[in-house]
Amino acid sequence: MEDSLLIDAVERFVKGEMSPEEKTYFEEIRKNNPELDQAVVEHIFFINELEKFNATRNFTHAVQETEAKLIQEGFIAKKFKGKAKVVHLWNRYKRTIGVAASIAGIVSLFIASLISAIHTDKNPNIVSLVGKLDNQEKKIDKQALETAELKSKVAQITAVSPVIPKTRVESNFRATGFLIDASNNFIVTNAHVVKEAKNKLIVENNKGEQFIAKAVYVNVLYDLAILKVTDNDFKKLSPFPYTIRKTNAELGEQFFMLGYPKQEIVYGEGYISAKNGYRMDTVFCQLSTSANVGNSGSPIINKKGEILGIINSMESNAEGVVFAIKSVNIYRAVEELKKLEGYEDIKITSSGSIKGLDRESQIRKVEDYVFMIKGN
């Protein structure tokens, strides 16, 4: 009997899909043929293993989601440094941070400020990674824009009820941001990114759909900004699958990142190479990875699905030296925004559901929550 037919027969036998005659016949040869008997036993064992594996995987998932919920509720305490000490360090370093920020030192990873940063920078070694779109890029952006407009026109023609085509915003910079509050549509990115948006600020998802946003919180000291998507067309997403780490990343901790150094989402990997940033700045940590202009605002995520930080800049005269704002600062920013009128309900809503998944599945789940930040 050929192997595939054998497996097929075994499967039908196990599932009880055989006719009585066939079953009798099958049992008869099984009795007289130890090889067949062995195949049946092995197959049943293997399918059982497969089912156990799946059950344990699903259960682990359910446990992790419960844990995430209880952590958020404060029932489960995860290590968090004494608050007084953190605040103290924060104040103490504020001045240095201010200086560093005013030098606009580091190469910030967003395309627009790149050119001005290089020219005016007293310390040209650090480059911001916001992407200023050069002519070629603008062309590509415009093409994407036209295609999208065409698509929406086609959709309009074919749709039963007319759809009003959305006018797309022509952008002159591009960076990255990610969702931190799925119920109120808050997105976090870098302060230096938002600065580029003199007129319009938009977020664009991985399907190329654009939504109008406004910056509701900007803090240049730790280079963080929170945007609110104000566009009515923006469909609410379910709670995001990553969590945001409250403690510092470990030295050597591996991470992956998703960002928009080009007009499509790009995956990268790296590890934490130092606990502090440029000139021992404690707001930041240092990474060994390759980031590009456009990566400003990209989340870096460890294998457990925890966001460790947000990419903001890189050293221009050393290869692979990139800086990220430590994730704990997101909590600080959220707390500060909460004090402002109208934003009391901001809440980090996480389902924490990618822990334990393989990398490809993690990416698939995270990419919907990472946005291009554009504007003009």
């Binding site: 595939s4 497996i7 097929d8 497969l50 594996f53 359910a62 446990v63 844990e67 995860k78 290590k79």
Partner: protein, 186 residues
């Protein structure tokens, strides 16, 4: 809580009932956290150990012959203590023996079963990771989601059910080969 209530609780775990998972966390987490923190562990360690305890409970609840010979709380504490002791030993951290503040029962057999299960899980996970797509999804669709071949052929873009079946067969052979290569070394 009497023993039959606890049995019902474990049956809920076998169904992955989240309210029951949460209840077991709420009623026992602090006890395990105390155990780990008092024995040179961190709160992160406590969270890890508790997750593993939950998996031990889950595996036990799925056994046809499962029964609890003591209170659930005692069982959880005993498993947690044993797992934490093992962790300390494997990390060769300096430690005194882990002191018990609660009753303990012998759980050697349960831990043994759990370790075997865990190694099987890891082998399957690594084999699944190696076969790649579309094999992984194809096998999951057939053996786990129990979809019909015709449906699978449509979902995966095969021209007919026979083609999908052939592909599934090839994938299964590869997965088995990877799995048993490791499994036989255990």
């Amino acid at each position: 809580m009497n023993i039959s209530d606890e049995k019902a609780l474990l049956e809920g775990l076998a169904r992955e009932d989240r309210s029951i998972i949460e209840r077991i966390y709420r009623e026992n987490y602090n006890m395990i956290q105390g155990l780990v923190l008092n024995n040179s562990g961190s709160s992160d360690d406590a969270a890890d150990i508790f997750q593993e305890i939950m998996i031990v409970l889950f595996e036990k609840s799925r056994l046809e012959s499962f029964e609890l010979s003591c209170q659930l709380k005692t069982f959880i504490y005993s498993i947690g203590r044993r797992l934490w002791l093992k962790r300390l030993q494997s990390n060769q951290r300096l430690y005194k023996t882990v002191e018990s503040t609660e009753d303990i029962v012998s759980v050697e057999e349960d831990i043994e079963v759990h370790e075997k299960r865990q190694s099987e899980f890891l082998i399957m996970e690594s084999a699944m990771g190696k076969i790649g797509e579309p094999c992984k999804s194809l096998l999951e669709a057939y053996y786990i989601q129990k979809k019909q071949m015709l449906q699978i052929a449509a979902d995966f873009g095969y021209t007919n059910a026979d083609n999908a079946k052939t592909q599934k067969y090839k994938c299964l052979v590869r997965l088995k080969k990877l799995f048993f290569a490791q499994y036989k070394n255990v």
